[in-house]
Symmetry: C2
Subunit: 332 residues, 2 copies
């Protein structure tokens, strides 16, 4: 039996929306969900007869969104986040989902679970839409200052995820760069290219434009670039959505001709809407963690729990350890 620990108190709309999302996810999967937090407050949002695969695990404290990660983790050992992470460490759960303080979540998992052998820096992966069924990019925000060699780890972790969770066979890895040809880029990307080109799955440089238009599996970059790409896409998508909405008349009759727009704009909405995917996996540690956005609603929480479950059931960690063993053995 697989078990997903859910930080029921983390996020702008916790525990209400998180509990509702977990209940929806419970109905759609076999694994057990452990809601971690204040039992009384969680109970308020539970139905009289909750599903059998959902339980409550008490935790008396809550780490707030604006708290400093390390300080909060040190002071609040009985916080819902720390307890959820600890359940995985003790082998009482296989994955964590939290929509709370991202920094505390990343630091907590890193300190408690430690890195998989061969990994120096963890990475947040983000699944992006594209003309060819989407791609995975990492690092989208975990480790801002990395060494070019860390991109090899990101590539291997991304390959394992793309294969196990996204169903891609023998995934290729591209390096995000300015210019396609070898030798293009800044000092960092040139050095990363030289290291990556030794691997058979490396497919070369790719530009920010082509990731959406060409068939791509995994794209690696440092977290500064990755996070800016992610936020830029969200911002551009929201900008387009707002402009379209502003131009559509409010009068119901005058609105009629614009009805077909609704389905046409779904991909835009998806990109500007966190709820669709629900969360981003934190990769490279001895445990699965799905990081949700602070403003996660029930739909986002449900999708995040289902994603955690998919990662656990597909044995993502085993696959990642196997993939990473290649860099380990070559380094020894």
């Amino acid at each position: 039996m697989m078990r997903i620990a859910v930080d029921a108190m983390g996020g702008d709309h916790a525990p209400n929306q998180i509990v509702l999302g977990a209940l929806q996810a419970a109905a759609a999967m076999r694994s057990e969900i452990i809601l971690v937090g204040d039992p009384a407050r969680i109970q308020e949002h539970m139905p009289p007869k909750p599903p059998k695969n959902i339980t409550i695990h008490p935790a008396s404290q809550v780490i707030e969104m604006e708290e400093k990660p390390l300080e909060a983790l040190r002071k609040k050992k009985d916080s819902s986040l720390a307890v959820a992470i600890d359940l995985v460490k003790k082998g009482e759960a296989e994955a964590v989902f939290s929509a709370g303080n991202t920094g505390a979540c990343t630091a907590g998992c890193l300190l408690s679970w430690r890195q998989i052998e061969g990994v120096e820096r963890p990475a947040i992966a983000s699944q992006m839409p594209s003309m060819h069924g989407g791609f995975l990019m990492l690092d989208a925000g975990a480790s801002p200052d990395v060494d070019p060699k860390n991109l090899i780890e990101f590539a291997m972790m991304g390959r394992a995820y793309a294969n196990r969770v996204m169903g891609r066979k023998n995934p290729k890895v591209h390096l995000m760069n300015i210019g396609e040809e070898p030798g293009k880029g800044n000092a960092f990307s040139k050095a990363a290219y030289e290291l990556l080109k030794e691997y058979p799955w490396f497919a070369g440089n790719i530009e920010g434009k082509d990731v959406f238009l060409e068939p791509v599996d995994v794209v690696v970059m440092d977290a500064f670039v990755g996070n800016i790409v992610l936020k830029t896409c969200e911002g551009a998508a929201e900008f387009f959505m707002r402009i379209v909405k502003d131009r559509v008349p409010t009068n119901p009759l005058a609105r009629l001709p614009y009805l077909p727009l609704k389905t046409l704009l779904t991909p835009l909405k998806k990109m500007s809407d966190y709820a669709e995917v629900g969360g981003s996996p934190l990769l490279g540690l001895n445990g699965i963690c799905i990081i949700g956005h602070g403003r996660s609603n029930a739909k986002a929480a449900k999708n995040a729990v289902l994603l955690a479950n998919r990662a656990v059931e597909s044995r993502l960690l085993d696959s990642m350890r196997k993939e990473l063993s290649m860099v380990v053995s070559s380094a020894k």
Copy 2:
């Protein structure tokens, strides 16, 4: 009389589309346009009675798109690009427009014109659309590996441009970063923040999402990040456009309900379409250069020439020199 030197042979559709664009621009402005290139090939696309403010200046060679910039400039001293740049150096023109080899254009202008006092690295600026009438971002591609202190120069050049060419009063400058609060980011952005915060026009960090949604004048970053942001926006916009097009029926009658879409999607088209703006200014040198995209058509060429003219007529260079003198005097 102001004069714009146009590299008539540079670009995928040169000289045809470049000459046509220059002719359209000539009709819309007083300044003189100097078409630089092979007189016979340019003449083919000229009307029997060309406008009085357009002349031809001969150049016997052409730098191709795939040539190595420095090598091409050294070998082809009589290329249309080198001759156009030289016209500005000799005081026979005030600005250059080229849709040819971007690397050769940037290097040629830098070597021939040299930097304005106070500038160490030139920058390419890019005007982006937004909910609040757009913003200017730089560096979008000229100098990939810079020092945090170079962002002060970019900020000052951007301020002068936003004021003179975009009409913004006392423009504010944001630093592109991951997280809004001071202290966020990677080592580079943290160092840049510490330097920028000494200036009264500095407005703090901004995230990739908010540049489109909040009122912003100028955003600075290194060229690696800037170019990736630019290309990502183009790619995302084109991706949305293609998806929408794929979903609209091809049958003319079934198409009817989708007609309102056309105007609604204009902003998307603008972002994916170089022709709208026409070109990006290369800033920081003793001369004005507008760099066009290789695939510039007549409309793009026309807009680029008009942009060059606006930069010259607004005395952008004087304004930039004045702005930069502040960093110079404080350093002495």
